[in-house]
Amino acid sequence: MAQAIAKSDYTGAAHAPAKPTFGLFARPTTKTGLVSWLTTVDHKRIGMLYGGFAIMFFLIGGLEALMIRTQLIVPNNRFVTAQLYNELFTMHGTTMIFLAVMPLNAAFFNLLVPIQVGARDVAFPRLNSFSLWVWVVGAILLNVGWLSHFSDLFAGFGGAPDVGWFGYSPLTSKQFTPDLSTDFWVLGIQVLGLSSIVASLNFIVTIINMRAPGLTMMRLPVFTWMALVTSFLLILALPAIAIALVEVMFDRNFGTNFFEVSGGGQPILWQHLFWVFGHPEVYILILPPMGYVSEILPTFSRKPLFGYPIVVFSGVAIGFIGFGVWSHHMFTTGLGTIATAAFALATMAIAVPTGVKVFNWIGTLWGGRIVTRVPMMFALGFIWMFMMGGLSGIMHSAAPADAQQQDSYFVIAHFHYVLIGGATFALLAAIHFWFPKFFGRMVPEFWGKLSFWLIFVGFNATFFPMHFLGLNGMPRRTWTYDANMGWNEGNLFATLGAYLLGLGIFTYFAVLVWSFFKGKPAGNDPWDARTLEWSIPSPPPEHNFAAIPTVHARDAWWYEKTHKEEIAMEKAEHIKAEESHGGIHMPDQSWYPILAASGLLVGAYNMAQFRHPLSFFGRTLGFDYGNSADPLHPHHFELGHVHLAMTGLCILVSACYLWSLEGPGGYHIHLDANGNATESRGGYHH
């Protein structure tokens, strides 16, 4: 065993070569400053970056939501124009899903998975950094359209995307949305998909292959299990939308007819392909939150998770069944009776494994000693609110009834209950729970609880009335409504609720910022928790573990705490073995991931507008765009976006090639008896 560890096996990276044979940009070694963040391969830093960006976008998405609610506060309101309203809900949905909840989950995968499996980093650290920066590129592309509202120089973008978060064709066709915003939407989602696929492949390998000795699959923390299932869902669901987006892009730019009725295309195919992705996507959003809750509940019930194997198995089942229910978003599209019935029944079936989870969470509480600290309150709130959202999902699954509910505010209520009451509550629980671990400071209980109650009350005040608005016939994506529809009070109430919710969210994050500077220092294990991340210092050192742990039980850290001597001996042995083989091996930083991502930015940004003349700050550059009236040379380019797009592609490919030549790299950390670290480089080999 010790032998195996010594070979740095669980860091997944090979030892450093004697000297880099090929190197264009030397690998940076600095540990502080901007460069260290841009080139970082440390999973914890990458996780923080993901988290920081995601929270920023969560606030932006929330601001968009508040503008939506303000527009709807009274009938016939003219706070925003119809066009801007459409941009707002499109970007609110897209932002919250792709730029807030997904990357927040990715942040926790990064922060926690390697530690929970007892590794020093992910399997492919540079690939991880690549995923992050590619995600940033996607976020930029999606939001670049907003610039046209701030400066006329960017008027050509035609505003932010306005096709709805599921971009139903043929609204996305050039005929109905001729401006660039849709092109940016298409490419933005495409790039985000690439990021997610790459990251997920990385996590699949990390979780399956990098587990510490003794950590069998059935000892993995449930969160890590859910990260695994989610990663699988991502790599299997994203291709469907990726291809569908390519088809839209071709329709828009190359005259194909995938969704163009005039050429025999069928727009409904887009819906199928979108929801083949879209439904698994909602489980991609909720499974990691189910993981956080499965970690937090046992910790604060002082009791191991009840029915662990069943909870794990039901997570896998939800993921799998989730691939067979997509058409429940299309009950009103005229699928025919048989298909409708089949999808309705399959949808109902999902309630069973989900119910199993709920029952086992309650089983975990049962007979425990429930400590209601802030993370626990959010976790309990999650169960309540998610249950409500799930049950209204079941109401939707009754297809004929759904004919009344579909595209009404009832759906808005359903999915905000699962997305906020579910996913977001769990994320807020998780942020609060792991904050002390990664920043080394506690968040004050009082302010945490206050924000919980503000959020809880505000959330229900906002979204509970929406069920009734929906039943009362209010359609979603409603820019404004007339005063005689009976929706005035409901909307007023919901909007006031949203302000309260906004105040709650504001309080929550303001308190975090305060705690970051002024919070009480947290020890290694402030919650007396169960999993490996609590066995190491807060914040964790770069190499995570002084000694790779050996795992003996499901709640590894609880076991360690009760078997101190045994563990101490094991660890000493592991440290010795590792040091005799050159010390703790750590991967090196690299420029290439961010370089490759920047190539992607240049490429995708120009690709989106390659049929448009090249312009620079509103001025068309002096190149003749060609004569589209000439049938023989309809698109005759001088220097245009095409060339820049090709340049971007070249940067991307060259960066990847140089990256592959860079060699695995790496350096060693040596710990002395007091735990002080020194570093060494080069072909250290005893």
């Binding site: 997944g12 090929f22 390998v205 790599i235 088809e247 295309g265 195919l269």
Partner: protein
């Protein structure tokens, strides 16, 4: 790993450094291929869905396809898979020379396949008048086979990189030489599948050889020059940092290559053969 290598025993089916014994890279590739199944599943679905519901005036596949040529391409791709398997076999036995030959062979067969596709596409567009945009069949067919072709092209590029990688010297920084070598390989391959192979097919179908040569004299000359450069760079020299321990890398590319092959097996049946019933 080094310790095993020194003892000359690398177990290519068990990696002791991972929890499952599967090397990380191999696991990554298999997971990626699972994902790629969904990519092609979606593309093939799109194609078949529109074959089920063709709009009036759609192109008629059997009047467009050239089944002899496609069968030949299919055969070539299967044989390239054989060469790829042999390349992996060779490197697993530490035989770098044979690996290089097999890699080159795989690349060349890949180029024949691509050349066939280039010929097919140009023929469809200019002779059969089926373009990407003038019928839904054109849209789905070109997108599906084009995506497959792109996969093959990326495969050829990866193989080229791997081939050049086998020359990485044990000492000294050969970055420039490496780039030049790769450039020569890319140019050779590019010329062969864009000009040479489609041209040869034309010749077989009756284009006089002289006309072909004079038409594409410049690119062909560049291709020949690049090919000579490849041979020149490929002279054996000094020791290289490549051997049995790199079997995993070659195998990873092999997995990709074979996958592209099996996708073609499906496409050949679903898109071509079934049309003839």
């Amino acid at each position: 790993m080094s310790s095993h290598a020194a003892a000359g025993q690398i177990d290519h089916h068990h990696d002791h450094t991972t929890a499952t014994g599967i090397p990380n890279k191999k696991l990554l590739w298999w997971a990626f291929l699972a994902s790629d199944c969904m990519f092609f599943g979606t593309l093939i679905s799109t194609h078949l869905v529109y074959r089920l519901n063709p709009p009036p005036g759609n192109a008629v596949p059997t009047q467009i396809f050239n089944i002899e040529l496609t069968s030949f391409s299919t055969f070539i791709l299967l044989m390239s898979s054989l060469l790829m398997a042999l390349a992996v076999n060779a490197i697993q036995r530490g035989n770098v020379k044979s690996t290089r030959v097999m890699l080159l062979g795989t690349m060349f067969f890949g180029c024949i396949f691509l050349g066939g596709q280039v010929y097919e596409f140009t023929h469809f567009v200019f002779v059969k008048k089926m373009t990407l945009s003038n019928s839904i069949f054109g849209s789905t067919f070109f997108t599906l086979t084009g995506t497959h072709g792109t996969h093959v092209a990326i495969g050829v590029l990866l193989l080229g990189m791997m081939y050049v990688r086998t020359f990485k010297p044990t000492s000294g920084n050969g970055l420039l030489r490496n780039f030049a070598h790769l450039g020569a390989v890319c140019v050779t391959m590019g010329v062969s599948f864009i000009w040479f192979v489609p041209g040869m097919i034309e010749v077989i179908y009756g284009l006089p050889l002289g006309e072909f040569l004079s038409h594409h004299a410049v690119p062909l000359a560049v291709g020949v020059a690049a090919f000579i450069a490849v041979l020149w760079f490929g002279r054996t020299s000094g020791t290289v940092e490549f051997g049995e321990q790199n079997a995993g890398d070659v195998e990873a590319i092999g997995l990709y290559w074979h996958f592209v092959d099996i996708v073609w097996i499906i496409i050949f049946t679903a898109v071509y053969l079934l049309e003839y019933l």
